[in-house]
């Protein structure tokens, strides 16, 4: 897959998997790091297969309401791509790569770098989980004195 094309589909896939828009995902500054992490750990071949499968689901979603079911029923159940997609969600939310399941490593190979680790200080700080829980990354983006006394944000 051509580089620019790859990045486009990576961003679209990330949006569908995380529930966060491309604008917010770009704002984390982590798009290129995470794509590189994926290519490094599961290799370009599997990365591109994931993106290709997703792009098919996307292209087939003519009415804009079949993508979610497509991901659930095809991508997430795929023995090769499902665990990688789930790892990508954890990467975006928590900023860490988590080791792939034992069965996956047995079937599809174990790779250097496939162990639990934080990608970078920024990947931790920009983890989506902190926004999801309406807090802030512990140890960063401090909201200021006394803010913990405010009512929580409800929408």
């Amino acid at each position: 897959m051509e580089k620019q094309e790859q990045r486009k589909w990576f961003l679209r896939l990330s949006e569908a998997l995380t529930g966060y828009g491309q604008f917010q995902l770009e704002g984390t500054g982590n798009v290129d790091d995470f794509l590189a992490t994926l290519e490094e750990i599961v290799k370009p071949d599997i990365t591109n297969r994931l993106l290709l499968e997703f792009s098919k689901l996307w292209e087939n979603d003519k009415d804009g309401n079949t993508l979610e079911a497509g991901i659930r029923n095809h991508l997430m159940t795929d023995p090769l791509l499902g665990p990688v997609a789930r790892n990508l969600i954890k990467l975006w939310y928590l900023g860490s790569w988590y080791q792939l399941p034992a069965l996956w490593r047995e079937n599809f190979g174990s790779h250097a770098g496939d162990y639990d680790h934080v990608i970078s200080p920024r990947s931790y700080v920009e983890g989506l989980v902190w926004d999801a829980i309406k807090a802030h990354p512990q140890g960063a983006k401090q909201p200021g004195f006394g803010t913990w006394a405010f009512p929580p944000e409800v929408d």
Binding site: I133, K134, T147
Partner: protein
């Protein structure tokens, strides 16, 4: 073997934690020359100290586990205990050699500023009855001093740490203050959760042994910066810094360097393991507050043996192993000579060093009566979102059950209200997020929304249960267990008495009743697979350590019932002070740092 030449210091101190740093600050300001030995890394140079601190932050960000010591470098030349690898005792895989039957669940960190680097900052005073358990309730022991003896030293300690609290909320269960006393800073605002619990528990009482006790939420005094009290003035003590007549207002101390950071708590929600802006007190503030021309600090200097004069039994010197590189096992043996010596290396390291040095001549109580606060958690979901994971780890507690007639029969406890959701019981948000993705197959908007809904109502209580002193709970040493520099590793025997276990039972009853009262969905679950799991009276419990390591060189009236006197002076060695939480004969239900600080300021005077 080499001897450093050969300055004789007025005082040689081991340990740069709060005990050592406060004593050093006070003594140097009074004109004494002090050599301070710190086993861990660090620097007495301001700009280097700042760089180190930034490095700790980076280490924290990059740490996968984010545990209590995760911000600090691994150092095998001066190892710190790790809690990540606790398994069922006996277990010698960590720094501690855990002999059981219970694991000792607490740790410390050996680095500049000691364990105040990762403490939460809770600054509770002990209750008057905590000092006289034997005479009041017929259990445990009495201290050789009373609350009254310590009252003004508490004020002094609150000044040195810079404690935030409102005095009119803190005079419960016999705690009293001299007339006109104020805390240096106004109380830290209570979290939204605290406010909701205060409201919900209004008028609530709970019965123990046919007596009703109030269940009242109270703001907790904390060693973190709030708004300085403009009318503050020291009452009842003379601070280290001179106060002019009529002068008023507390001057807040922020980060050790640069000066403009960390004035007030900024809500980083990260007191443990590290406050990014140093709004939370750590002992480097006191260390750098010492009078520099009288002070010398040696880092990477691990005290390994105290040398005694065989005639007088006084201390002649402290031998220490100085390493250049924490990643190498090489060291040189050096000697520190002084007139007076202070061991302030924490309760476990103090005892270990004395046992290594005195051998069979050690005081029979050395290393005995090891105590901690086992923490029983109760967690659940409140009916409404309360904004979990915001602010300092805890801003309030329920202290009203810290004392009562029930203490004749069972341990008391203080309830800490946790602001960080289920971070302690369930490693939230990490573990539940992973579960949502891997087990429940959630993704996209559904993941985002359900996860928010699930976490926003999370809260937990922590019951800090009093442990009574037992000589069988001990720190010992053996030539079979040494670290890389050849220093002893602590061997720990640890268990709970029925008195303490009865406290667990009462804690369980308490949160169940409170949860019911507040309509909390209870998610508490003590898993038999956990290394701290035990059963008592048919009930299963698991618990965690509080980091409150107390009692290994207890003070007494005479050498028969104590290792040190009430000034922490060794009965056996006239020019030796053994300082810190190890001197405390009982632990009560308060986090012990403030009491330790008060004792150490009294020692320094």
């Amino acid at each position: 073997m080499s001897e450093t030449k050969d300055k004789i210091y007025d005082v040689v101190i081991v340990g740069s934690g709060i005990a050592g740093s406060l004593i050093a600050k006070y003594l140097t300001q009074k004109g004494k020359t002090v050599l301070l030995l710190e086993a861990g890394t660090g620097s007495y140079d301001l700009s280097q100290n700042w760089k180190d601190y930034q490095e700790y932050m980076k280490t924290f960000f990059m740490s996968q586990e984010k545990g209590v010591n995760s911000a600090y470098p691994v150092n095998l030349d001066a190892p710190s205990p790790s809690l990540n690898s606790l398994s069922t005792p006996p277990d010698d895989s960590g720094y501690f050699v855990q002999m059981g039957p219970q694991n000792f669940g607490s740790n410390f960190v050996r680095i500049n500023g000691g364990t105040t680097q990762h403490w939460l900052g809770t600054c509770l005073r002990m209750l008057p009855d905590d000092f006289r358990m034997k005479s009041t309730y017929g259990v445990e022991v009495d201290w050789p001093i009373t609350y009254d003896d310590l009252e003004n030293w508490y004020g002094f300690a609150e000044y040195e740490i810079g404690v935030s609290a409102d005095v009119d909320e803190q005079d419960y269960l016999g705690i009293k203050f001299p007339k006109g006393y104020r805390y240096p800073m106004r109380k830290i605002p209570q979290s939204y959760l605290d406010q909701k619990l205060t409201e919900g528990l209004k008028g609530k009482t709970i019965e123990f042994e046919n007596k009703e006790y109030p269940v009242k939420v109270v703001s907790t005094p904390q060693g973190r910066n709030s708004t300085p009290d403009p009318d503050y003035r020291p009452v009842g003590f003379e601070p280290t810094e001179k106060w002019k007549k009529g002068e008023k207002g507390f001057q807040v101390e922020g980060a050790v360097s640069p000066w403009d950071l960390g004035a007030r708590c900024e809500g980083n929600s990260n007191c443990i393991p590290i406050c990014p802006v140093q709004a939370k007190y750590n002992a480097t503030r006191s260390l750098f507050g010492a009078k520099r021309e009288n002070m010398e600090v040696k880092f990477q200097a691990v005290a390994s043996e105290v040398e005694f004069d065989p005639e007088t039994n006084e201390v002649k010197a402290i031998w220490y192993k100085r390493y250049e590189d924490k990643n190498s096992p090489e060291y040189t043996l050096e000697k520190a000579v002084g007139k007076v010596f202070v061991l302030a290396a924490n309760a476990i390291e103090n005892a270990k060093l004395m046992l290594a040095s005195e051998k069979e001549k050690a005081h029979p109580l050395m290393g005995k009566n090891l105590m901690d606060h086992p923490v029983l958690l109760g967690w659940g979901l409140l009916p409404e979102p309360i904004g979990a994971f915001r602010g300092p780890g805890s801003t309030s507690g329920i202290p009203s059950l810290r004392n009562g007639d029930f203490r004749k029969n069972r341990a008391a406890f203080r309830i800490e209200i946790g602001n960080w959701g289920w971070s302690w019981p369930d490693s939230a948000p990490y573990k539940p997020l992973i579960q949502s993705v891997d087990e429940y197959g959630r993704f996209g908007k559904n993941l985002r929304e359900t996860f928010k809904a699930e976490t926003q109502r999370q809260f937990r209580f922590g019951f800090l249960i009093e442990q009574d002193p037992q000589v069988s709970n001990s720190v010992t040493i053996s030539p079979n267990y040494k670290d890389r520099l050849g220093n002893y590793r602590p061997i720990i025997n640890y268990n709970f008495s029925d008195y303490t276990k009865n406290g667990f039972v009462a804690a369980l009853k308490t949160y169940k009743e409170i949860f019911k009262w507040l309509n909390v969905e209870n998610y508490t679950n003590y898993n038999p697979s956990e290394s701290t799991y035990f059963e008592y009276e048919g009930i299963g419990f698991s618990w965690g350590g509080a980091g409150h390591i107390v009692g290994t060189h207890k003070m007494g009236l005479t050498e028969k019932d104590g290792v040190v006197d009430s000034y922490q002076r060794s009965f056996d060695h006239a020019n030796l002070f053994i300082a810190g939480c190890g001197s405390m004969p009982t632990i009560g239900t308060s986090n012990p740092t403030l009491t330790m600080a008060a004792l150490c300021l009294r020692t320094a005077a």
